[in-house]
């Protein structure tokens, strides 16, 4: 762990345990993020991206979720060991999360301004009037006129609601922002507005950000570092340029090949054959090996470790 590492996740393991089966959602994930940097967590449905974010904020519903191991350090403090009371003080204050669906993230019977002021009052112990003033400023910051303070979520469009969610998340000036698919539910022109706004806010506040997405375009625009996640494991990690230009893991290569291009002609797409593995019965060795073109005897035999393929660029592959 280097000096300026701000968020450090070590060997995080999360399972979902039900009466019938155990889903191995996150399997020994390690992540580091420095102050002011943006990390993209990319992967497909069920890869464990959201579970990681929820484990960091400790909002996993347990049961069925169970954190089986690992440590999450924020500024040197192990979040997993904090008492719930102190964790409450962290959430919304030092760590914030933006959820995918702005329609369900807001309280429908509370005006949007109060939803932002609530966060401020909870953490900053200011008067109601001061909280309101701050909340109005937060709204203006994300491009919503303060006059709309008293309106309710149903009076806003999807893009505007997501702005409110972002305003609430940033109201207390968090050090760490976890954005779980922040633009997936939005149209592209609205997504572009939102990405621009997030860029601006990031420059302004220097918040360390983790963006969870399956959209390589969003990663390319927003992130400094990329972690590719497959079946609950990070399979490739590195600076944006390294991962995009010199993808090392066959899964990462496959992901790029499967996306149709807007600017080049491809007669036929190259899909990754097969399906993601069943998370209740993961392969022993490389979890991608059953779909991998380069699979040989070694791959399936024992767990594969992360290997350095370049400066700051690691990959979980024997090749």
């Amino acid at each position: 762990m280097s000096q300026d590492t701000f968020l450090s996740v070590r060997g995080l393991t999360v399972e979902y345990v039900t009466k019938y089966e155990t889903v191995q959602a996150v399997n020994g994930v390690c992540l580091d993020l420095s102050k002011g940097q943006t990390l993209g967590l990319v992967g497909e449905t069920g890869a464990g991206k959201t579970t990681i974010a929820r484990a960091v904020t400790r909002i996993l519903q347990s049961p069925p979720a169970a954190v089986r191991g690992g440590e999450i350090f924020l500024d040197g403090v192990d979040l997993l060991k904090l008492p719930e009371r102190e964790m409450c003080h962290m959430r919304g204050n030092r760590i914030s999360m933006i959820f995918q669906d702005p329609m369900t993230a807001l309280n429908p019977v509370m005006c949007v301004g109060n939803q932002i002021a609530e966060v401020i009052r909870k953490h900053d112990h200011v008067s109601a009037a001061a909280a309101r003033q701050q909340a109005e400023m937060s709204l203006e910051l994300v491009g919503i006129p303060a006059q709309r303070y008293g309106e309710y979520p149903h009076q806003f469009s999807g893009g505007m609601k997501q702005r409110v969610v972002i305003a609430a998340a940033l109201a207390c000036g968090p050090d760490l922002l976890l954005a779980d698919e922040p633009t997936t539910a939005l149209d592209v022109t609205i997504q572009a507005q939102m990405l621009d706004m997030m860029h601006r806010l990031h420059d302004l506040k220097e918040t360390s950000t983790v963006i969870i997405t399956h959209d390589m375009g969003v990663v390319a625009e927003m992130c400094d570092y990329v972690a590719v996640i497959y079946a609950g494991e990070i399979v490739e990690y590195g600076a944006l340029e390294d991962v995009f230009d010199h993808a090392a893991h066959p899964y990462t290569v496959g992901l790029f090949a499967a996306i149709p291009s807007m600017w080049e002609d491809v007669a036929r797409l190259t899909p990754i054959p097969g399906q993601p593995p069943d998370p209740t019965a993961l392969p022993v060795g490389c979890k991608f090996s059953p779909r991998c073109a380069y699979m040989d005897g070694e791959c399936g035999a024992r767990p594969v470790e992360m290997k350095t393929v370049g400066p700051g660029h690691t990959c979980r592959c024997l090749r």
Partner: protein, 320 residues
């Protein structure tokens, strides 16, 4: 001689308490047999309504459309039955478009049943063929939808749509709910099937890279109207309508070396209820002026390329 699918001045309006929603407003286009027309636009632009009208899930308000030379808008109930064998639709969400109590076999056999043309043995044969065609393993014949993942479910939906050998298939966001690796499998499947059976597709999506990949021609819709139509590659190389340009520049690119300046649009899509005359995009258009308040019509800007912008010619030559 009309094209295989010919749409003329098609309108679909919904009457609501607050006024009339102009979901599809005076749209005309055609698709040649075996071709693919892509329809792109943002949510609420009327692209799905257009698809539903063209397979006659909804009646049109006015206008006409012809499939293989036959006017679909005046068909009788009996004739519509025949039409529905010809025109099928694949929906976005394979989770909600399958009956959870039907096995794969039940689902695929339902249209065969309804056609009353097959006996039990023929139906079983045909089901096996269709499953093979759509790439569904034979062992899944008796599986229920909840046992299948998204990609496999979409394959079942495709097999069902093709059961009665349609000639025209509306694909309404068929890959939007799928992960990229599965999305590529399904896109390849759709393109293979088109080759094999000479299918005509209308492919509705909001994903511009997908639409470029699969389409011959692309229509861009905004608030119920067609604002630009041209061959797929030309749309990306030489877009004319300001909305098309904004749409293209809004897509985040996975190419980290080609950083583009983005023209971020102000504001949001306005209400499709009782729209004012004039260009509907003008409120958000960076180049809007007085002339945009007048009626707009599609103008030819290049061979096979039309755009609904009074400044289209000037846009083309780059005067703006």
């Amino acid at each position: 001689m009309p094209e295989f699918l010919e749409v003329r001045n098609l309108k679909k309006h919904f009457k609501t308490k607050r006024g009339t929603v102009h979901a599809v407003d005076d749209v005309s286009f055609s698709i040649g047999r075996g071709g693919t027309l892509g329809i792109v636009g943002e949510s609420g632009c009327g692209k799905s309504t257009l698809g539903r009208v063209l397979v006659h899930l909804e009646d049109s308000t006015s206008g006409r459309f012809f499939l293989d030379g036959e006017d679909v808008t005046i068909l009788s109930r009996g004739q519509l039955r025949k039409f529905r064998e010809q025109a099928q639709i694949i929906f976005q969400d394979p989770y909600s478009s399958l009956n959870p109590r039907y096995t794969v076999e039940d689902t695929i056999q339902e249209p065969l049943h309804l056609s009353r043309r097959y006996n039990k043995r023929q139906m079983d044969e045909k089901t096996a063929q269709l499953m093979d065609l759509a790439g569904i393993a034979a062992r899944l014949r008796l599986a229920y939808p909840h046992e299948l993942d998204g990609g496999r479910r979409q394959r079942v939906v495709i097999a069902r749509a093709l059961a009665l050998d349609p000639a025209f298939v509306v694909c309404d966001e068929p890959v939007s709910a799928l992960d990229v690796s599965i999305q590529a499998q399904i896109l390849n499947l759709l393109m293979d099937l088109q080759q094999e059976k000479n299918l005509t597709y209308m492919f509705i999506t909001h994903d511009l890279s997908v639409v470029r990949h699969i389409s011959d021609d692309i229509c861009v819709m905004y608030l119920g109207q067609l604002v630009e139509k041209c061959p797929a590659k030309e749309l990306f190389a030489a877009p004319v309508h300001p909305y098309t340009r904004a749409l293209l520049s809004a897509v985040p690119s996975a190419n980290i070396h080609a950083r583009r300046e983005r023209a971020v649009l102000r504001g949001e899509i306005v209400s499709p209820i009782d729209p004012k005359p004039g260009c509907r995009f003008a409120a958000r258009c960076p180049q809007a002026s007085e002339v945009c308040k007048g009626p707009q019509k599609l103008e030819l800007v290049a061979p096979g390329h039309v755009a609904a912008c009074v400044k289209a010619q000037a846009q083309k030559t780059g005067a703006y």
